[in-house]
């Protein structure tokens, strides 16, 4: 039977996971694809998955009454979504494919349940997401710095 294991193992997110944990993740995974312009999710909807992007590009957007602002884009090798980890499990932004995009979706309910029974798995996942949040926070600070404006 074909499984998603090789695809999952090839994604940078899985680099630090043990074979056993990878196997658990496969049980919660499915293959997804989005056309250019298609929404992956919208602000306020239930955060019931996160996505490991295999190729393509996803924009995180906020709609204002007059326009849509793109806060960041995510591409191959990146992870989309952490609202599934924290109550009330709702997306805080829109996510939209900018170009045809393939990803592996991981079911949130499935992972939350498995993490409650296997705290080692939960800890590994939290470490990965904490690292990602740290990187994104840092990138956001750089964006706020307006570094290109300062001389030098």
């Amino acid at each position: 039977m074909d499984t998603l294991e090789p695809l999952l193992a090839a994604h940078p997110f899985a680099r630090h996971l043990s074979a056993a944990h990878l196997h658990v993740l496969v049980g919660c995974a499915r293959n997804v694809r989005f056309d250019a312009g298609q929404f992956v999710f919208r602000e306020g909807e239930r955060a019931d998955a996160f996505y490991l992007i295999r190729d393509g590009c996803i924009a995180l957007e906020v709609a204002t009454p007059t326009t849509t602002l793109t806060m960041m884009t995510l591409g191959a090798g990146e992870v989309l979504g952490w609202s599934w980890l924290f109550p009330p499990y709702r997306w805080k932004f829109d996510a939209r494919a900018v170009e045809p995009t393939r990803a592996i979706a991981l079911d949130a309910q499935c992972l939350r349940t498995k993490s409650e029974t296997d705290h080692d798995l939960g800890y590994e996942l939290l470490k990965q997401f904490a690292l990602m949040v740290e990187q994104r926070l840092h990138a956001t600070r750089l964006q706020l710095l307006n570094a290109y404006d300062a001389n030098g």
Partner: protein, 285 residues
Amino acid sequence: MTPTAEPPATGPSAFLPRSFRVAAVHRETAETRTLELQPVDGRPAPAFVPGQFTMVYVFGVGEVPMSITGDPARDDRLVHTVRVVGAVSRAIAGLRRGAEIGIRGPFGRGWPLTEALGRDLIIVAGGVGLAPLRPVIYHVRAHRAAFGRVSVLYGARTPDELLYRRELARWRRDGAIDLQVTVDRASAGWTGLVGVPTLRLRQLTIDPARTLALTCGPEVMMRYAVRELEHCGLDAAQVHLSMERNMQCAVGLCGHCQFGPDFLCRSGPVLRADRVLPRLAIREL
């Protein structure tokens, strides 16, 4: 074939400005212009190594260092991109076709292109920091087989602040190098990447043992680029950055550009990150 990281120029061109005429002016952004300059004496423009700079002298206003940003294979003109920050840069950006200016140089140590032969290259540029790296891109594209994987990550604050937009679009289309252009703030109509360029480093496939990285941009960006590259397995000694702090004589005499033990005009502007990084975060330097 491959220009080496030459030591500083000597001889009369180092001390006496040579007259150049502005052959063309291109508006890059609201604050930057690219000038194509031709020697008034009709002889070829000086040969240079990517990463080198000249001292651009506007008669009656002053003289400032500017990176050479043209194609190193062409000797019919010298190209500079200038961003307006003060009196001299404003005067340069305001020059019209036909105006005359003085040029000394080229000076300084350029990018380590000989060392880069056969290796993978990662180029991280921010804002006008793309100017001294553009000659590297011309060179790599002209000798594509001599290099491995080549990734260029270029960031600017907004889409309007990107340099060389048409050329970037062409380079992205033909795919000879992996070029990723990203902005901090997207405006309506921008369909490209949003975010800081350094964040994209972790998404590249990198073989640290055969990779060399070159970076130029705001010092804050360069510092984080080096840290991210280290995270990706590179040693700081494999990262080269261009230090564009101010200088005056350009021949290592006046001491204006002293940065720790280095005179940037002679040992730089391109320096290895392991040499400068410890000093970059020191506020007084």
